[in-house]
């Protein structure tokens, strides 16, 4: 292998490039990114950047000297526009054709949009430019409507409140994040919004961003000076249409995270079969991007000794004065039990059951060792009866 092309210059793509070098690969690495910036970190965008604790110079993932040391053929500000699998070339927006003998696809996701959200008062939050544009508008007394009370919308709402902004948070489901974290934890998160003066309205469907605010499905106008649309993401696979790769909910990959011979997917864009949980998943969390980037680099370098990518997923989210941390696969759980602390104190550790196994753990304000112990239970697919006790279905 002499020429590896990595499409996507964010966390997953950088991890792949770095790992190739660490493992001794000396050939060409072309790293292609559609944004004009060196690889940078996204989690701080909805936290320290939006909250003005950091300036933009804090978000690059590597110091310039460390990036230089990787000896990359960096193609920034240029999107990939097509893939010729048979001819083994990637086409770029600037007209270039880049040949490869190993390919990593790490093109991430983009925000889902609402009708009418093209105006300058309507925001999304994915890129550094998005975050800087929104924070310019977040001044005390300004009215912000956040559409979607997922992790991103909730973090942005919390930061905006801290800046003295009037925040209305609109959420279509009855309890925010309930499918992800369960009803009880979801209600705790809702209470935190109320406690901090956010006008959280659940069971509300937004039809469009309109003049002066957002229009609900029932015709009501919720007034706003600024609107943040945080209603999920769409995998960036358009450039792969017609390439022959399987596209469904993202780029479909096997247990090695391979999409085709010599072609791997990593990060938010990739859906792969995780043998630890026996199911396909696509994960939009920061740590997964890095771990998957590393894993595919190793599989690319060692075609005869590939390893399945079988991580325990991890995420964290900062909201107001607390941090949520979670390991495992919480979505689809059948039972949640608080095993330490108490939800009402916002200091607790909850474990999640799927089938007869410990599927995940979520904690707020707990010592790291407690969390690691339960992570181990997830990693070893511990039996619920041994780790927790009798099975009690949710709602029983």
């Amino acid at each position: 292998m002499k020429q590896v092309v990595v499409v996507g210059a964010s966390a997953a793509g950088l991890a792949a490039a770095e790992t190739l070098r660490r493992e001794g690969y000396e050939g060409t690495i072309t790293l292609i990114g559609d944004e004009p910036y060196h690889p940078y970190d996204r989690p701080p965008l909805s936290k320290q950047i939006l909250g003005r604790q950091w300036e933009a110079d804090r978000v690059p993932l590597r110091a310039p000297a460390d990036l230089d040391g990787l000896g990359l053929d960096l193609r920034l500000g240029t999107a990939a526009t097509g893939l010729d699998l048979a001819g083994r070339t990637v086409a770029l927006a600037d007209g270039a054709r880049v040949p490869y003998d190993g390919l990593v696809i790490a093109t991430g996701v983009r925000p889902r949009r609402l009708p009418g959200d093209g105006g300058e008062r309507a925001h999304v939050l994915r890129t550094l430019d998005d975050a800087l544009a929104l924070r310019d508008r977040l001044v005390p007394g300004r009215r912000l409507v956040v559409v979607g009370a997922g992790f991103l919308g909730a973090e942005a709402a919390a930061v905006a409140r801290g800046l003295g902004v009037e925040v209305t948070l609109l959420e279509p489901t009855p309890v925010p994040l309930a499918p992800a974290v369960g009803e009880r934890v979801g209600r705790m998160l809702a209470e935190a919004h109320h406690d901090h003066g956010v006008d959280l309205r659940t069971g509300v469907t937004v039809a469009e961003v309109a003049d002066g605010g957002v229009r609900l499905a029932d015709g009501t106008l919720v007034e706003a000076d600024e609107v943040l649309v945080a209603i999920g993401s769409v995998p960036n696979t358009d450039w792969l249409e017609g390439s022959g790769l399987t596209l469904g909910n993202g780029l479909e990959c096997d247990e090695y995270s391979a999409a085709a011979p010599g072609v791997y997917g990593a990060g938010d864009v990739a859906r792969w079969h995780n043998p630890l949980f026996g199911t396909a998943m696509r994960i939009e969390h920061r740590t997964n991007a890095t771990e998957q980037g590393m894993a595919v680099a190793r599989n690319l370098l060692r075609p005869d000794a590939r390893k399945p990518f079988a991580p325990v997923p991890y995420f964290w989210s900062d909201q107001y004065d607390f941090r949520i941390q979670a390991y495992g696969l919480l979505r689809g759980h059948e039972e949640v039990t608080v095993v330490e602390g108490a939800l009402e104190e916002r200091k607790f550790l909850a474990v999640y059951r799927s089938g007869d196994r410990v599927a995940g753990v979520l904690a707020v304000g707990m010592p790291p060792k407690a969390l690691r112990t339960w992570r181990q239970a997830v990693a070893t697919r511990a039996a619920w009866r041994d780790a927790v006790g009798e099975l009690v279905p949710e709602g029983a």
Partner: protein, 65 residues
């Protein structure tokens, strides 16, 4: 090898502690990184480099190889 940690960047994920427990630990109260040894011995270098790649906050830097 010399290691630096950018403490204000740390998000307390504990990935480094799982990979290199002789070099990194976490504060009990908030999980923020504690650097146990900024000049780890040669046999730990690979683990420290891996920690630097894996860290979800890019808070670990190997400043001298």
């Amino acid at each position: 090898m010399r290691v630096e940690v950018d403490v204000p960047k740390c998000v307390g994920s504990g990935q480094c502690v799982m990979i290199a427990p002789d070099v990194f630990d976490q504060r009990e109260e908030d999980g923020i990184v504690v650097l146990l040894n900024d000049r780890p011995p040669a046999e730990l270098h690979a683990d420290v480099e891996e920690s630097a790649v894996v860290c979800p906050a890019a808070a670990i830097r190997v400043v001298e190889k």
